[in-house]
């Protein structure tokens, strides 16, 4: 199969799977189910595209669908703050850094080795199914209607986070110190040492 046909097959399959998920979600849980199916397809579809695409940059862009899908799932769970933080940090920060790193790589134009991809997919799917079946059988699932109602207001989150008796003030401060140490260390490693600064005239000029 040539590349065009492979792409077409893959994306058609992805679209069909998404539509099927949408139909199934709508049938079982109405609007909420449809929304869940949509965001879940974004998450999983983005991940699949990330594996499938041969160009690293395209893979990185497909991660955006994954991150936005996860944010949508957070919104469905009533955690607006987490959803917005997910978009701000993962799409606005981490994904930009990833793209900055891979933007200059050329697309890998070698023929895609379908047997190897197929083997990988089978292995991953098999493991996932085995583990998933075990988890589904053993875990007692929390249901949305039995969970306590969560206020996703910023002041509520802040108060719960920094409360003196059962808050997370110390871990929060420790994380801040750790990040500062990491930043300073990164600057220390990347900084220009005096030996790097050679006068161009001495080197024979540009």
């Amino acid at each position: 199969m040539d590349v065009r046909k492979q792409q077409l097959t893959f994306y058609t399959l992805l679209l069909v799977a998404t539509l099927a998920a949408l139909a199934w979600g709508t049938r079982t849980a109405g609007t909420q189910g449809a929304a869940f199916a949509l965001f879940a397809s974004f998450t999983l579809g983005g991940g699949l595209m990330c594996i499938w695409e041969r160009s690293v940059v395209r893979s990185a862009f497909s991660l955006m669908a994954t991150f936005c899908g996860v944010a949508g799932l957070f919104v469905l769970l009533g955690h607006d703050y987490l959803a917005m933080a997910q978009i701000l940090i993962y799409v606005g920060g981490i994904l930009v850094l990833i793209l900055f790193g891979v933007m200059l790589t050329p697309p890998d134009l070698k023929e895609r080795q379908l047997p190897r991809v197929g083997l990988g997919v089978v292995l991953v799917l098999g493991t996932l199914l085995a583990v998933g079946a075990k988890v589904a059988a053993t875990v007692e699932w929390a249901r949305a209607d039995t969970l306590p109602q969560i206020e996703s207001r910023a002041d509520y989150i802040g108060a719960a986070f920094l409360r003196a008796e059962d808050g997370y003030l110390v871990p929060f401060e420790l994380a801040a110190v750790l990040l500062t140490v990491a930043l300073v260390a990164a600057v220390y490693i990347a900084r220009r040492k005096p030996s790097d600064l050679v006068d161009p005239a001495e080197e024979g000029g540009y």
Binding site: S55, M64, D80, L88, V96, L99, R153, A154
Partner: protein, 365 residues
């Protein structure tokens, strides 16, 4: 206050029975999308005309004078028609899918951010407790659109533009968020309507910049970061028409190209409005105070609030244009230096000072 969408509230009593609640929700959503799209288009239209006139007057020219009669007011409409009918070019070597997707991502993110912007105290598209956080999150998505456009064009100029955008984002995103923390400390809320309401004292002049000197300092940092966020000169490195042809826009033409500019001008208005809400009073001004005395919470008051917001937004846009046509462009290393070495520490100090000031005020009074 937390009663959902204003359009839904307006439509619900009017809807006939057979439509049902679901029909009203869908209609309200469609009307909301229509309003946001209309606002974005009108802002872009007015701003493009304004930019031409402002730049012309700064350079001792007239700018557009003929189309439409009065000072060429219809020039942007004529340009829009031209762009709509222009051939839609996609370069042969381009990544077609990403090339076509990037303007949509850019505009989609902008519309999502616009949805969090209240137009009047009683007219908003949704009551978001995390309003400004949502605006920041979705405007950071537009970066991906720009990087995508630059990479998909498969041209070295576009790629350079995209690289610069990515580098610039990393440098200014932190001062943008941190400097906004200072007024957030004073306001105690992320919600734009509530923040605006907190500034209603002193006859509508109790703006956060006047209440706390550190917020005033943070407003300067925030505005500089906003200039970088909206890719405006002196931070228009991704576009840099005198260095990179047109940067990430080089290969775009026709209506796709104009989408990028719609996004740019609407983002300018959006970020000016956020600046207004958290530093310069939002809806509040002496006129709003008088309107509230005269009309209560009625429609007249809402209109004055809307007008105040529009004036403040366009004042911000005017300031951005003034800076653009006055200052030379920074180099990318200067942008980095500015973001990392100056803006970030200053923003952190502003947050610390604003917190101490509020704490002292709380302790003393």
């Amino acid at each position: 206050m937390n009663d959902g969408n204003a359009i839904y509230r307006f439509l619900q009593p009017l809807a006939p029975d057979f439509v049902g609640d679901w029909g009203v929700v869908v209609t309200a959503a469609m009307v909301g999308v229509g309003i946001v799209v209309a606002i974005v288009s009108v802002i872009a239209m007015v701003s493009v005309w304004l930019e031409r006139k402002v730049s012309a007057h700064i350079q001792c020219r007239y700018g557009p004078m003929y189309v439409g009669g009065w000072h060429g007011w219809a020039q942007t409409i004529a340009d829009g028609v031209k762009l709509l009918t222009k051939e839609d070019l996609i370069p042969v070597g381009a990544d077609r899918m990403l090339f076509m997707l990037s303007p949509s991502i850019l505009l989609g993110a902008l519309f999502a951010a616009m949805a969090a912007l209240p137009l009047a105290p009683a007219f908003y598209f949704g009551w978001f407790d995390l309003g400004v956080f949502m605006i920041l999150a979705f405007s950071s998505l537009t970066t991906i659109g720009v990087v995508m456009a630059g990479w998909a064009s498969n041209s070295k100029w576009s790629l350079y533009g995209a690289m610069r955008e990515a580098a610039q984002v990393v440098a200014y995103e932190i001062p943008l968020g941190v400097s906004l923390l200072a007024p957030l400390l004073v306001a105690g809320t992320f919600n734009l309507v509530e923040a605006s309401h907190d500034q209603a004292d002193f006859f509508g002049m109790g703006w956060f910049v006047f209440k706390n000197p550190f917020v005033a300092a943070a407003s300067v940092v925030f505005f500089i970061a906003v200039l970088a966020e909206t890719k405006r000169a002196p931070f228009d490195l991704p576009e840099a028409e005198s260095e990179l042809v047109a940067g990430f826009l080089t290969e775009y033409s026709g209506i796709r190209w104009s989408f990028f500019f719609m996004e740019e001008y609407a983002a300018m208005f959006l970020m000016s409005a956020v600046t207004a809400f958290f530093f310069f009073g939002g809806f509040e001004s002496p006129f709003t105070y008088l309107a509230h005395e005269a009309f209560g919470d009625g429609i007249g008051y809402q209109l004055v609030c809307f007008a105040t917001l529009a004036v403040k937004g366009f004042a911000g846009i005017f300031l951005m244009m003034w800076l653009r046509w006055t200052l030379p462009r920074l180099r990318i290393d200067q942008v980095m230096t500015m973001g990392y070495k100056y803006l970030t520490p200053i923003a952190l100090l502003c947050v610390l000072g604003a917190g101490l000031w509020e704490g002292l005020k709380y302790a003393l009074f």
